[in-house]
Each structure stands twice: as structure tokens, then as C-alpha cells.
């Protein structure tokens, strides 16, 4: 049985190689951008469902549901719970389609389909994966959730196998191998279905992996295209004459990546693609970002290291790059550029613009025109960011502060860099409310000492090259809604991407590592590492409701409607990078070695355990809310 499966996988791998060879030799495969998931474009508009990680293709994580509002949110309470039976870090969130919920877990990547009426398990899928994939995953064995399309549920397994499961039965429709864990390639991302293709990424930035984004045919799992992040133009699906550099608004020209590396270093150049993907059906463009370049020791890899740390806009049918922009050229701090690219339409300088907004690990929030990448606003979204003073809007490059540069400082300890490698925000996705025009951003407030060291590349082995010490950031905070005693490591903020202003800040003891949710009821939700699910007023940041779930929250808060009631669900389960940074407590350098500042360790607040908690209002309160909103709309 096992050997049969292995053979099947081998055959698929061979098929994938064959397809890529065809592509390379210039034979263009017939494009069938049929109606497959134009139904997804329609389906996403129904706020009763939550059918993709971001709620909708735009990644806004906003719901039109308003039964839960600022008046009644205080009366929320848990309706039902579900243990996944897995202890490691639970990122991602539940998908809901009709009367069924779909959730996935960290390794071994179980998938559960749960009946919303009976709360019973409709079907369960658990892949057999070699446990040797576990230590090849840099920061815990997280999985950021599932994708839906064409009657199938898609799971991106840790061992890089992309699996299509029948939505009704959980039976495997096809499997496709996307990488090789023995070379350091693993996967953590949620796939995204666009038309007749499933888009997925690759992890392994700490193992010298050369990153790529891949599209598989939704029918049979055969590779449609693959776009590398570094290397020759054709392998990156960059057209030197057509692909636009967002800063110059001119074509990037020939060999723009190769010229930015010394020798063959692009082959272990990083630029992995483990973040979230968004899509604009009108412009027909797919948006995503790439991760850190090769080793964390910048001195070992001269050049801009293109296209690590870059936002790409690509055609989802062909993979061809329309435009690109590198946020952090020649990274010196591990500020991956993978964070979600949120698509919004807002007015800037009196003009309605199609925008893409992203909160980069490097501490700057970028507002760009999503049609061509033009840089409109780039501001710090945490006042303590210090490695650069600003982004030069003419060159698009950060104005760096030499004191915090780690370049040319092998075996020197560079201290007090903000943010830490975790970034001012990591993968935890922000949300946007079209009602307030504000972004709600879960952020880290952590700084670091960074000591680059020489490192040699061995396939399948960690390729890091730096020793880090991380600790809470300084006390400064913009427009706080309340006071916080002691050292804080997180802030939940409301941010105006048209002006670059932080409207309000909620201080949090630990990094806010949970995906946020904004709703038409003017209630914004997020989770904390201690395990609190919090509901706050979208205008003021005032706390409306708080509930301590069984474990720390690094998952995303999602919402849906079932039988006339609005539900809010979130996975708890402490872990992920937050689990490593916080589990043992961070060292405060100002308090001397061995001491910690005035805060207690996370372990004093929560323990491991994957549990889904679903919240709703009492029936009478929900009915009252519906009645008054009907009156209001009349």
C-alpha cells in the first residue's frame, strides 16, 4: 500500500518535470481560463460563507455581516468548540461553505469537514508524511489553511504535496509534489484557487531554497507554470521588455536578477513564497511577495539579491510578471516580503485609486497602485522602527541607518535593531474595513541584536548565518487607547494607508500573532498569544468583549452565517515562530544577563493545544439586532 502510493507520487513528479521541460522549450500550453472559478468570484460575495483565507480574493478579511455590532458584542459567548488533537502551532482559520466547515492542522496536516448542524465530523483526511520533514521546517510545523474550488478542498502538506480532496467525501482526487524536503523544501501556506488553477508556494528560506510560485491545473494536478524568484528571466517568467519595475515604471531589462547576485548565488538565493496570495479578477492579476535572500549573513551575498523581498503582480493564467517592486534590497535583517497584499479602492489626493497595501516585515507599510505598482505612500507603522529613516519615494529604496546595518560586520554583534527578524508584522494577516477606510493590523513590537556569522551551504541543512537575541521594544506608542504597565511586545493598530497615520494603538503584552477580522457591525476581532479572543470597536479601539480560549491564538478569526445567526470562529494552539520567540521568554538587555524585564513568560499564561472556538450571540439578542438593522435600512 505504501509502495503503491510512493510510485504514484513518483509518476506525478515525473509528469511535473515533463511539463516544466515543455514550458522551458517554449511550447505554450493551450490556455483554458474557463468559467471554473468565476463562480468563486460570485460565491465570495455571499457573506454567509467564508470560502478563502481572506474572506474574498482582495484579502480584506472584511465581512458584510452586522448581526454582531458594537452594541451587542459584549454579549457574545462560545457556542461550540472542537479539539483538533494536535498540539503544535495552529495558524490559518476555518473555511465555511453552506452547512460545512473545513479546518486543517499543523503536521501531520489533518483535515476535518465538520457539520455545522450536528458539529459531527463528516469526513477526515490524514496524510502519511515522513516525520523527517519536521526538522526541515524552520519555525514549527504550521499550516495556514485550506482552499476551496471546483467542488474540491485543497491542502498544501508540509512535505510539499498539494492534495485535492473531494469536498463531499474527502476522497483524494489528485496529489502533486511541489518540492523535495531533503533539499530543504517544505510548505506551510494556504493555496489559492484562481479560475482553473491552484496557486501554491514553497518554504525553506532558512535552507537556501530558491523560491518559486507554482500553478497546478485544478482538474488533474499537472503543473501549469512555475515562476522562480531568482535567476534567468525565463525561469522567473519575467519578460525583460514588458515586466514593469514599479519605481521607474519602465521594463526591468535583461537579466535583472542575475546581475544582482555574485556568481551562482542566485541558485541558493531564497525568495521563498510562503505567505498569502490575493487576486484582482478585474485586472486579472495575482499578488504575492517573496522571502529573505539566502543566508542571513549579508556580507556573504553582495548585490541587491533580486527578487527576494519583492512584491510581484502576475497573470494567473501564464504566470507572467506584470510588475514588481523590491521592498528591502540586499536584506540584512531577515525582513521577508511575504506578508499579505491587501487590495482596496480608496481616494488619494482626491483621486479614486486601485490600491495594494502591505505591511512589510521591515516595519514600513506600502501603499501602491495595483495596476502598475507605483509607490504612493510608505510609512512606518511602528514608531520604533530604526534600521531606516524612511523610504525614498524617488528610488523606492530605504534610507538606511549605518549603526543598524549588519553588512560587513561578520562576528560583530549589532545591537538594538528594531524591528526584530520577526518583523513589525509577520504572516498574521491584517484586515480592512471599507466602512472606516482603516486597516486593522496585528503587530510585533520586538527588537533584536544581530550577529552575522559565516556559513557554508549544504543541501537540506539550515543555511542561516546569524545569531539573534530578541527582546521587547521601547515603550513608545502612537495614540494608545489605554495604558500598559511594563514592557510590551505587541500592538494592535488602526492604520490609514492613504496618509500613513496610526489612528489608534492597543498595547498588548505579547506579539499579536493572529489574523484580524473587520465586520460591517463595526466590530474588529483578533486573538492574543495569551489566548484571548478580543472584539473591539472599529472606530475607537475600545474593547467590547474578551474571552480566554484554551491556548494562545496564532490563527485567523473568520466569520460566517448559519441558520440565520452570525458566528465567529478561531483556532487556538500556541506555536509557530511566536512559540519559539516567546516560549522561553525574551531577554531584556537593559535588565542585565539572566534577568527579564517586568513581564512574565508566555508559559505562565497558556499551554499547547489545538482547539477551535466558535462564538455567537444569544438568539434573542441576534433577533433584536436583525430587527433593528431592518428598520435602519428602511
Amino acid at each position: 500500500m505504501k509502495s503503491i502510493q510512493a510510485k504514484g507520487a513518483l509518476r506525478l513528479a515525473t509528469a511535473a518535470v515533463a511539463v516544466s521541460t515543455l514550458m522551458a522549450s517554449g511550447i505554450v500550453l493551450a490556455q483554458d481560463s474557463s468559467a471554473k472559478s468565476s463562480d468563486l468570484v460570485e460565491m465570495q460575495k455571499d457573506p454567509g460563507n467564508w470560502i478563502m483565507w481572506g474572506g474574498q480574493y482582495n484579502g480584506q478579511r472584511y465581512s458584510e455581516l452586522d448581526q454582531i455590532n458594537t452594541e451587542n458584542a459584549g454579549q457574545l459567548s462560545p457556542a461550540w468548540t472542537f479539539s483538533t488533537g494536535v498540539l503544535r502551532g495552529h495558524e490559518g482559520g476555518p473555511l465555511v461553505l453552506g452547512d460545512t466547515m473545513y479546518i486543517s492542522t499543523p503536521f501531520p496536516n489533518k483535515v476535518f469537514a465538520i457539520d455545522l448542524e450536528s458539529h459531527a465530523i463528516k469526513w477526515k483526511y490524514e496524510p502519511t508524511q515522513n516525520p523527517q520533514v519536521i526538522p526541515v521546517m524552520c519555525c514549527d510545523t504550521v499550516n495556514r489553511g485550506l482552499a476551496y474550488g471546483d467542488g474540491k478542498i485543497f491542502l498544501q502538506q508540509a512535505d510539499t504535496t498539494l492534495v485535492a480532496l473531494d469536498q463531499k467525501t474527502g476522497k483524494v482526487a489528485w496529489k502533486s509534489v511541489n518540492g523535495d524536503p531533503s533539499k530543504g523544501q517544505t510548505a506551510t501556506n494556504a493555496p489559492l484557487v484562481i479560475k482553473d488553477k491552484v496557486i501554491t508556494g514553497i518554504s525553506g528560506g532558512e535552507f537556501g531554497v530558491r523560491g518559486y510560485l507554482t500553478a497546478y491545473n485544478i482538474d488533474d494536478g499537472k503543473m501549469a507554470w512555475r515562476a522562480y524568484s531568482t535567476g534567468p528571466d525565463d525561469t522567473m517568467l519575467i519578460d525583460p521588455e514588458k515586466t514593469i519595475d514599479a519605481v521607474t515604471q519602465k521594463p526591468v531589462g535583461k537579466d535583472s536578477s542575475l546581475k544582482s547576485w555574485e556568481g551562482d548565488q542566485w541558485k541558493i538565493g531564497g525568495g521563498t513564497t510562503w505567505g498569502w496570495f490575493t487576486y484582482d479578477p478585474e485586472l486579472d492579476l495575482l499578488y504575492y511577495g517573496t522571502g529573505n535572500p539566502g543566508t542571513w549573513n549579508p556580507t556573504q551575498r553582495p548585490g541587491d539579491n533580486k527578487y527576494s523581498m519583492t512584491i510581484f503582480a502576475r497573470n494567473p493564467d501564464t504566470g507572467e510578471a506584470k510588475w514588481l517592486y523590491q521592498m528591502t534590497p540586499h536584506d540584512e535583517w531577515d525582513y521577508d516580503g511575504v506578508n499579505e497584499k491587501i487590495l482596496v479602492d480608496q481616494e488619494i489626493d482626491g483621486k479614486e485609486r486601485k490600491l495594494v497595501v502591505h505591511f512589510d516585515r521591515n516595519g514600513f507599510a506600502y501603499t501602491q497602485d495595483r495596476t502598475n505598482g507605483e509607490l504612493l505612500v510608505a510609512e512606518k507603522y511602528d514608531p520604533s522602527v530604526n534600521w531606516a529613516t524612511k523610504i525614498d519615494m524617488k528610488t523606492g529604496r530605504p534610507q538606511m541607518v549605518s549603526e543598524y546595518s549588519t553588512e560587513g560586520k561578520v562576528d560583530q554583534n549589532v545591537t538594538d535593531i528594531c524591528p526584530a527578524a520577526l518583523g513589525s508584522k509577520d504572516q498574521q494577516p491584517a484586515s480592512y474595513s471599507p466602512k472606516t477606510g482603516l486597516f486593522y493590523v496585528p503587530t510585533n513590537h520586538v527588537c533584536m541584536d544581530y550577529e552575522p556569522t559565516k556559513v557554508d551551504y549544504t543541501a537540506g541543512q539550515p543555511y542561516v548565518g546569524a545569531t539573534l537575541a530578541m527582546y521587547p521594544g521601547p515603550d513608545e506608542i502612537t495614540n494608545p487607547v489605554k495604558k500598559f504597565e511594563g514592557k510590551r511586545m505587541g500592538t494592535f493598530i488602526a492604520y490609514d494607508a492613504t496618509t500613513g497615520e496610526i489612528k489608534w494603538s492597543i498595547p498588548e503584552r505579547f506579539s499579536v500573532w493572529s489574523g484580524a477580522l473587520a465586520t460591517a457591525g463595526d466590530v474588529v476581532f483578533y486573538g492574543t498569544l495569551e489566548g484571548y479572543l478580543k472584539a473591539v470597536d472599529s472606530k475607537t479601539g475600545e474593547e467590547l468583549y474578551s474571552f480566554k480560549t484554551p491556548s494562545g491564538i496564532i490563527g485567523n478569526v473568520n466569520t460566517w452565517k448559519y441558520n440565520g445567526k452570525q458566528y465567529v470562529g478561531v483556532l487556538s494552539g500556541i506555536g509557530g515562530w511566536a512559540g519559539i520567540g516567546m516560549a522561553a521568554g525574551l531577554t531584556d538587555p537593559n535588565a542585565g544577563l539572566g534577568a527579564v524585564g517586568g513581564y512574565k513568560d508566555l508559559k505562565n499564561y497558556t499551554q499547547l493545544g489545538g482547539v477551535l472556538t466558535v462564538f455567537t450571540l444569544p438568539d434573542s439578542v441576534a433577533q433584536k439586532a436583525d430587527a433593528s438593522s431592518k428598520v435602519a435600512s428602511k
Binding site: 541584536d449 509557530g576 516560549a583 544577563l593 534577568a595
Partner: protein
């Protein structure tokens, strides 16, 4: 039916790996591995609180005494592989071996075991695990890796084998020195300083 078989296969695999590792350790004369999951995920962080470290920091080894050990790594007079000299404020100077061990640990091990070797939600605290662990067993575990299936949770803990990694293998003494200093409570959490004369 299928599921049962998979589970059995997995268990057999784990047992096979464990017994292989056991054979390697047996040559060292050390105890076989006793599965202790207290700090492997079910209860991460365990008891290595900073308070404990602080109190022990005062039991620092006296580095002023000259050492005449012939080992590759110079230690102190009590047979420890490290020298640590902490002042009252918790600032510590350490021998060259500990310093290199700290750096190599940060480079290769801290991604899972955390910057102070106190573990994460997915890897054990080495401050705890090294208590009572001999150098032979430590070396075998690093070189050969460890794969364990916790039968109570059905979940794997996997330490990769480092035998092919030259940078790790050629610094095993220094890694041992650093971790032993941490585990013995001689060296508190944080970045230490090199001793002036590398004593």
C-alpha cells in the same frame, strides 16, 4: 483498517530508530534514552525559569585559577568543560569554547531550541535535557539525530542528524561546553562576553 496499519508502521519506524540510536549510545556506557516529554511540547518551557538561573549564576566558576587540562577545550578545575565568570549584575565572561559554542548554537540550533537553549513549543529545553546527560550521549544525539513518536499524543519529535554538517561536527566540544554551562546553571540566559585572555 488502513489507519491501524499506518499507525503500526509509524510505531515500528519509531522503535527502529530508537533502537538504532540506543545501540550507538550503548557503546558509550550511558543509560538508554528514557522518554521524557515534560519539555518536548506537552509542557514547554518546563522549569528553567529565569529566577532559577539568576540564583545559580552566583555559583560561577572561578576563572582566576589557572587550568591545566589537556582536553581540546579548556575547562575549570572541577572538570567542567567551561569557564564562566559572572559579576553581581549578571554580566558573564566566558572561555573561548563557551563563546564559540554560543555562536554555533545560535547559527544551527536556536531555530528550534530558542536563543537561550530553553526550548520552544516544538523542541525541548536543552537546559533541562542536558541535566544528567553524558557527553557521549549528547554527541550521538546531535550526530545521529533523534526521531520519537509520543504514544500518548501520537505526535513526532524529530531532531535532525548533523553528521554531514562540518560546522556542527567540528564544534561539538564548544557546543557541549556552552550547553553544559547553561544546563549546570553556571551561565544565565543572554549573550556572554569573551574572557580577555581566553583563559
Amino acid at each position: 483498517m488502513t489507519r491501524t496499519r499506518q499507525t503500526i508502521t509509524a510505531v515500528l519506524f519509531a522503535v527502529a530508530t530508537a533502537s538504532l540510536a540506543g545501540a550507538a549510545f550503548a557503546a558509550d556506557g550511558d543509560e538508554p534514552i528514557v522518554n521524557d516529554y515534560s519539555s518536548m511540547g506537552a509542557e514547554y518551557g518546563s522549569s528553567d525559569s529565569d529566577k532559577a538561573d539568576e540564583s545559580k549564576a552566583s555559583v560561577s566558576n572561578d576563572s582566576s585559577a589557572s587550568s591545566s587540562t589537556s582536553a581540546a577545550v579548556e575547562g575549570d578545575d572541577e572538570g567542567n568543560p567551561y569557564k564562566v565568570d559572572c559579576d553581581g549584575e549578571g554580566s558573564c565572561k566566558v572561555s573561548e569554547a563557551v563563546m564559540i559554542g554560543y555562536e554555533k548554537f545560535g547559527n544551527h540550533c536556536a531555530q528550534c531550541h530558542a536563543q537561550n537553549a530553553e526550548g520552544s513549543t516544538f523542541a525541548p529545553s536543552l537546559v533541562q535535557r542536558l541535566k544528567g546527560m553524558g557527553q557521549g550521549r549528547f554527541t550521538a544525539a546531535v550526530a545521529g539525530g533523534v526521531t520519537r513518536l509520543d504514544s500518548t499524543t501520537g505526535q513526532y519529535s524529530v531532531m535532525p542528524a548533523w553528521s554531514e554538517n562540518e560546522d556542527v561536527m567540528s564544534h561539538m566540544q564548544q557546543l557541549w561546553a556552552f550547553l553544559k554551562a547553561r544546563s549546570d546553571g553556571a551561565l544565565p540566559a543572554g549573550r556572554p562576553q569573551r574572557m580577555d585572555n581566553n583563559g
